[in-house]
Each structure stands twice: as structure tokens, then as C-alpha cells.
């Protein structure tokens, strides 16, 4: 109630007038009433009423916050957070080694960034995740829907259909092995058509369309509350050309990152971004580094780098708050990303080794960060 007039979210002109007239706290405004306000400041009664409604809402919000109710900021103990994290689902990738280094799969409420050279499999993994997020809960999935924002035009429907068919077949195999009621029931609704109809696809041609789409995303997610995955395939592409003003680019990217964090938290969904690699020229050598600059590295919580080692594809966990840095080999088959074995979380079958030695983080450091 003692809130300063200058901090209220009114229009700047109105604020200036109020301050010039000598109002200092929100309490004074509320006491004056709309008619008095309009006469004193010289604005219409409707405008005065609108301003007072804004003030009242703000003060109510403040009071709720100080009373410890649910405001826009959440307050909880680490124990509550631990319980939440443990019951949270992961989006599995069907590549057991990849899931292991990620700590179970792609985490909800976090931003995961996948960087990689061209042709290494980033879009394939995104399509795989868009299918895997829809796996019913009895099979170990999160039973959600997916939003796919494509900036490069690399989404192939036929390929997504192949991956979806393989996933359905895998679930059918599990159901046959188990013969449980809920498995069979879930399979009735888990089909190719339903999977494809729950992938919401947006094609953004430039960065303005991307920004606009991210502004509209919270409303879309409120309407489609079952969405658990937002994929932005190619966040680098629209920002890498036509930008003379690099500081504007940094500002827009930071704003984008903040909005995505809010979306991930409020709607309990995972956000997956793919990034390109660019060549950086050092003193005596050139290296491949993720694009969009150093400051963008702070945006993602988890960073995966996909790269090549002659003919083998490798995935390195580059940044993670809870998992150790490590590298694993993986392959892309006609069924999507795989690691030479099927595995099921229900059956607890340990993954077969892929035949290639897993490199420990300590020995692969110098090799994995510089190519």
C-alpha cells in the first residue's frame, strides 16, 4: 500500500502527471477515487478508473506475495524440489547410452541444446523426441504432445512417420511380453495417426516469425495443456545472417532464452534447441565451436555436442548441472537413433555394450572440446 507511484505499471505520461501533481504512494491514489483523480490531474473519468484498477491489482498482488501465498515467484524448500524432480518424467531417446549420460533422458522444465556439424543427426534426434514424448505412461513415457518449430525446413514427414511406426511396434512388443490390461488399453490410442496429429508444426522463415511465435507460445500451451516438449530446430539459422547490429542480436537472443525458461517452468515441458557449429580462428588453429557466441552458452541448461570421429558419430555431454561429462557413440538406423539394442524401462534389461569403448571424461577432454 505504501508502494511508490513511480513504480506502478501505468503509462509513462500518466505517471509523469501523477508525480507532478504530488502523489507519492499508491494508498493516496486509492483514497482519492476516480472522480477526484480525474479533476485533479485533468484526465477523463474512464482513464482514471482504469488506472485505479491497475493500482488495485498491483497492490493485491503485492499483498499476496508478502503473505506468502502463490504469487508469480515460487518459494519452496530443497526437499520439495527433490521430491518433484524424482517423480518427474524424462523423455527417452531410445538410445540407451544417450539416455544414460543425460541421466535418464531429456529432462522436463529444462532447456537442452544440441549442437553439431551438418548432417550429424540433430533433426533426427528432434523428430525422435517428438515421437517419444507421446509414449503412454504405462510404457515409461510422459504421455505428452509436441510442438515443433522448424526454421531450416529440414523436417521430413515421411521420416517422422517411419520413426513413429518403429516406436509403436516397440511398444507392441513390450505389451505382448507383459500382457497387462493398461498396456493393451494404451496401445489402442497410441497409433501412427494419433502420434502425427499431436505434433504441432510451425515453419518460421526468419527471426521475426520466430520471435512472434515464441511470444504466442504461452497462449498456445495454455490451450494445449498436454504439450510436454517444445523443439526449436535451428535456432541459429535465422540469427546468423542479415544482422549488422550484433548487440541487437544478443539482446533478442537473451530475451528469447528468458521466455523459453519461463515456458519450460510454467508448463512443465522440456525445451530442445538445435544449434549449428561455426569455425573459430585461434592463434595457430581453427576449431569448431557452437554458433551464436559465448553468451548464448548460458541459455541452455544442458548442452550436447554431436560430432564425428572418422566414421563414427559421437555425442558429448558438454554442460549439465547434474551429470558428468562423457562421450558415447551412437548410430542412426532406419528406426531412429539407436545404440544397437532395444531396451525397456519396465523390463530393466541392461543395455548391451556397443562394442566401441566408452571414453572416460578425463581422457576425452582434450579431444572432445577441440576437433
Amino acid at each position: 500500500m505504501q508502494r511508490d507511484v513511480g513504480s506502478l505499471p501505468l503509462s509513462p505520461a500518466l505517471r509523469a502527471r501523477l508525480l507532478a501533481a504530488g502523489f507519492q504512494t499508491a494508498q493516496e491514489l486509492l483514497e482519492t477515487g476516480p472522480c477526484g483523480l480525474s479533476k485533479e490531474i485533468g484526465i477523463s473519468r474512464e482513464e482514471a478508473l482504469e488506472a485505479l484498477q491497475v493500482v488495485r491489482q498491483e497492490c493485491a498482488g503485492d499483498a499476496a506475495k508478502t503473505a506468502g501465498g502463490s504469487g508469480s515467484t515460487r518459494k519452496c524448500t530443497a526437499l520439495e524440489l527433490l521430491e518433484e524432480e524424482q517423480t518427474q518424467g524424462f523423455i527417452i531417446t531410445f538410445c540407451s547410452a544417450l539416455d544414460n549420460i543425460l541421466g535418464g533422458g531429456v529432462q522436463l522444465t529444462k532447456i537442452t541444446e544440441i549442437c553439431g556439424a551438418p548432417g550429424v543427426g540433430k533433426t533426427q534426434l528432434c523428430m525422435q523426441l517428438a515421437v517419444d514424448v507421446q509414449i503412454p505412461e504405462c510404457f515409461g513415457g510422459v504421455a505428452g504432445e509436441a510442438v515443433f518449430i522448424d526454421t531450416e525446413g529440414s523436417f521430413m514427414v515421411d521420416r517422422a512417420a517411419d520413426i513413429a511406426t518403429a516406436c509403436v511396434r516397440h511398444c507392441q512388443l513390450i505389451a505382448e511380453a507383459h500382457q497387462e490390461e493398461d498396456h493393451l488399453q494404451a496401445l489402442e490410442t497410441f497409433s501412427l495417426e494419433s502420434i502425427l496429429s499431436h505434433i504441432y508444426y510451425f515453419r518460421c522463415r526468419d527471426y521475426i516469425e520466430l520471435l512472434a511465435q515464441v511470444y504466442l507460445l504461452p497462449d498456445f500451451l495454455s490451450e494445449h495443456s498436454k504439450v510436454r516438449l517444445v523443439v526449436i530446430d535451428g535456432i541459429a539459422f535465422p540469427f546468423r545472417h542479415d544482422f549488422e547490429d550484433l548487440s541487437l542480436r544478443t539482446r533478442l537472443l537473451n530475451g528469447l532464452a528468458q521466455q523459453l525458461i519461463i515456458i519450460a517452468n510454467d508448463h512443465k515441458s522440456a525445451v530442445v534447441l538445435t544449434n549449428q557449429m561455426t569455425t573459430r580462428f585461434g592463434q595457430n588453429q581453427s576449431m569448431l565451436v557452437p554458433a551464436l557466441g559465448e553468451s548464448w552458452g548460458h541459455a541452455a541448461t544442458v548442452r550436447l555436442i554431436f560430432h564425428w570421429d572418422n566414421t563414427q558419430r559421437l555425442a558429448t555431454l558438454y554442460k549439465s548441472p547434474s551429470q558428468k561429462e562423457s562421450t558415447i557413440p551412437y548410430n542412426i538406423t532406419d528406426k531412429g537413433d539407436q545404440n544397437h539394442s532395444w531396451y525397456s524401462r519396465d523390463l530393466q534389461i541392461p543395455a548391451l555394450t556397443s562394442g566401441l569403448p566408452r571414453c572416460a571424461a578425463s581422457t576425452c577432454h582434450p579431444k572432445c572440446r577441440r576437433y
Binding site: P9, L10, S11, A13, V54, A117, P118, G119, V120, Q124, E152, G153, S154, M156, V157, D158, R159, A160, A161, E193, I195, L196, S197, H198, I199, Y200, Y201, F202, R203, C204, R205, D206, Y207, E209, L211, A212, Q213, Y215, L216, D219, F237, R240, H241, D242, R251, L252, G255, Q276, T279, F281, G282, N284, Q285, S286, M287, W308, N310, T311, D334, Y371
Partner: protein, 395 residues
């Protein structure tokens, strides 16, 4: 979409006038400002500004479609999804042929058959749908003046002798291939921008640019500072324009590229030791110490360009007579190689020596090494002197 005027975004007239006083006339200007700046400029409260942002975003944002709708649309018109290349094994692996609606790049050392392939594709695009064509016209942007109309007629006559049995049909085909000679980067970009109107007016079904690399390398010398960024800028702009056109009209776009030498230990070689077209792309150091300078030949135009194209086909030399097509990057096909020769009727696959069904282990498409004529000649000479059935030279 970005240059959409705010008037058309359904903002009120007075608001638009007020914003234009601050030089904010398009959606792009509006969305690039922060919330505080918007409040200052519009004079509205925080909540109203958020409502305005939503309104403007609605005007710019793309429409939603589900993957299922996309699939249904494709299955209604399956033949329109690909342009078969008439090289049957290649088409089978590519799930139909050159995909429509995305960029396909063809890279090879000089003289391997890029232009021949492009000429063959131009003929194929003019064929009726029943024969596997797209029944439309072709835009051929030629930057090297390598297009030969006589060769076009020779290929058409020899490849489809039953169809092109009369001069009338040949002339009809040649009339639908529109050739543009562009010699500078600016003119190429201008031509790409004008493509939208031409496609509608002339019913174009295929765009070929032969080659992107030659104009770019003529004008951008990567030795000089700042040129690398400018070059990437030009390439990215061209790529996004072409992608827009390809997707909008659902037509294939074929681009050709040249080759460059890349040094494997990644040292930034001082410019005078290296040819002007040197590309400092990095490949895996084969040796542990990484000190040896083993040069290998890869596709030109750098890493960013490799990201922009959707499919990459590499043509390379195998021995004196046969050459290879390699599928280096494709969202639907695994790595594969096919042997072919260039004959009167264009490219002909050698089905006998075909390894088409074996997925071949590939590597980073940006760094895929390509065999040039010298290596092939060298190996061929070795073969004849040793009289051993030489193993396939490792790519």
C-alpha cells in the same frame, strides 16, 4: 512477413501514426524493442503493451499444422514429392529421387559430370508426369557459361528416343528451359529474388543454379579480412530465399558446388602458402600428433553452407572411366555409393559393380573427402603396372 506494416497488423490508426514518429513502421521494428521501450514509445501501460505485442505477433507468426495434416497432404499427391533422376538405384535409395521443396547440392571436382547431371535433370523435368517428369519449365541459372544446347538435345534424343521422336517434341522441350547467364553475386541474388514471379508466370517446376561456388569465389577472397563474414552472409541470404521459393511452390532446387583443399591439422595456413580459394574447414587429425599436414579435398563454401543445404550428392573419380556418386547428406537416405559413366545419353549407372544396398560408412558431409582426377590417375597407373586387382582407393 517481417516487413509487414503495422497498419496491416490491425493496430489502431492513431497508434500507427504515433509509432511512425519514432520510425517504427513494420512488425520487425516493433518486435525488436524491449517492453520498456515499447511502453515509452506507445505511452501505454504494461498490460496493454503485452496485449499489443500479442496482436502484432499474431500478424507475423506462421500458421500451425499438425504432422498428420502434412502427411495426408503428401499422400494425396505422391508423385509431386520427388523428381526421379532416372538412375534407378539412386532413386530407390533416395526414396523417389531429388526431393521437392528442399535444396539439393551437387559437388564434384571439375569435369566429373555436374553439368551433365544438371542438363539431364532439365530434360527430365519437362517430361510428362506419366514418364516420371514434372511436366513443367526449368530455370537454369548458368554462371560458368557451361550449358550447351547441343548436348541437351543429344542427351534427350539418346535417353528417351521413343518420346523425342520428332523435332517438334525436341523444340517444345528446349522452349521450356529458360537459361539465365549471371556473372556476379549481386546479379545472382537479384535473379533469385525475381524467381517468385517467374515461377508463377512460366509454370516452372525445377530451378538449377550452376554453379554457386564460381561466382562466390570470384568475388569473395577469404584471405582478406571481413570477406569470410560477408560471404557467409551472402550464402545464407541466398539459401533462405531459395528455401522459401522451394517450399512455397514445392519444387526441387539443384545447386552445384566446387571443391577445395582442407588441411587436416587445422592450422590456419598463412595466405601466401595457399591458393586463394582455400577454405579453412577442419577435418579430424588422422595421426595422433596432428603435426602431419595431410591435405584432403572437400566440398567448398564452408561449414555454414553445408548446414544450409538439405541433401548433398558428391560426384568423384574412381578410375579412368568410371566415377562414383556418393550420397553424403540426406534426411531420408543412408550413405551409399554408385558407379556411373558419362555417355551419350548422359549419366549411366554401372549396375554390375553396384554397392547400392550396403549402407556405406560415411562421415561429416562438410568434410567428406572427394577423389580428384590425379589420385584416380595415379591409382590407375599403379594398377596397370602392378597387375593386381587394386583395392578400391579409400575415399
Amino acid at each position: 512477413m517481417a516487413t509487414k506494416k503495422l497498419r496491416r497488423a490491425k493496430l489502431s490508426q492513431e497508434l500507427c501514426e504515433r509509432l511512425s514518429r519514432y520510425q517504427i513502421t513494420t512488425c520487425q521494428d516493433f518486435l525488436c524493442l524491449s517492453l520498456l521501450e515499447l511502453m515509452k514509445v506507445t505511452g501505454e501501460s504494461y498490460r496493454n503493451v503485452q496485449k499489443l505485442l500479442r496482436k502484432v505477433s499474431l500478424a507475423c507468426a506462421p500458421k500451425m499444422q499438425t504432422a498428420y495434416e502434412m502427411k495426408v497432404r503428401r499422400s494425396i499427391n505422391p508423385s509431386a514429392a520427388f523428381l526421379p533422376t532416372s538412375l534407378h538405384s539412386l532413386d530407390k535409395v533416395l526414396h523417389g529421387g531429388i526431393p521437392c521443396g528442399s535444396l539439393t547440392e551437387l559437388t564434384s571436382p571439375p569435369g566429373c559430370g555436374k553439368t551433365q547431371f544438371c542438363i539431364t535433370m532439365s530434360v527430365l523435368a519437362t517430361l510428362p508426369v506419366s514418364m516420371g517428369g514434372l511436366d513443367g519449365a526449368v530455370i537454369y541459372i548458368d554462371t560458368e557459361s557451361a550449358f550447351s544446347a547441343e548436348r541437351l538435345i543429344e542427351i534427350a534424343g539418346n535417353r528417351f528416343p521413343t518420346y523425342f521422336d520428332s523435332d517438334e517434341k525436341l523444340f517444345c522441350m528446349t522452349r521450356s528451359i529458360h537459361l539465365y547467364r549471371e556473372l556476379t553475386c549481386d546479379s545472382v541474388l537479384k535473379r533469385i529474388k525475381s524467381l517468385e514471379e517467374e515461377i508463377i508466370s512460366k509454370k516452372i517446376k525445377l530451378i538449377i543454379i550452376d554453379s554457386v561456388a564460381s561466382v562466390v569465389r570470384k568475388e569473395f577472397d577469404t584471405k582478406l579480412q571481413g570477406n569470410l563474414a560477408e560471404r557467409s552472409n551472402f550464402l545464407a541470404r541466398g539459401a533462405s530465399l531459395l528455401k522459401y521459393v522451394a517450399e512455397e511452390f514445392s519444387i526441387p532446387v539443384i545447386l552445384t558446388n566446387q571443391i577445395t583443399t582442407s588441411l587436416s591439422n587445422g592450422l590456419a595456413i598463412p595466405a601466401d602458402l595457399v591458393s586463394p580459394a582455400h577454405d579453412l574447414s577442419l577435418s579430424e587429425g588422422a595421426s595422433g600428433s596432428g603435426k602431419k599436414e595431410s591435405a584432403c579435398v572437400t566440398a567448398a563454401l564452408g561449414n555454414t553452407w553445408s548446414h544450409s543445404v538439405n541433401t548433398r550428392l558428391i560426384l568423384q573419380y574412381h578410375d579412368l572411366l568410371t566415377r562414383q556418386i556418393v550420397i553424403a547428406k540426406s534426411p531420408v537416405a543412408p550413405f551409399s555409393t554408385f558407379f556411373y559413366t558419362v555417355e551419350k545419353s548422359g549419366l549411366v549407372l554401372q549396375d554390375g559393380k553396384n554397392l547400392s544396398n550396403l549402407p556405406w560408412e560415411g562421415t561429416n558431409p562438410a568434410l567428406q573427402t572427394i577423389q580428384v582426377r590425379n589420385t584416380a590417375l595415379g591409382n590407375a597407373l599403379l594398377k596397370t603396372t602392378d597387375e593386381t586387382p587394386g583395392d578400391t582407393p579409400s575415399p
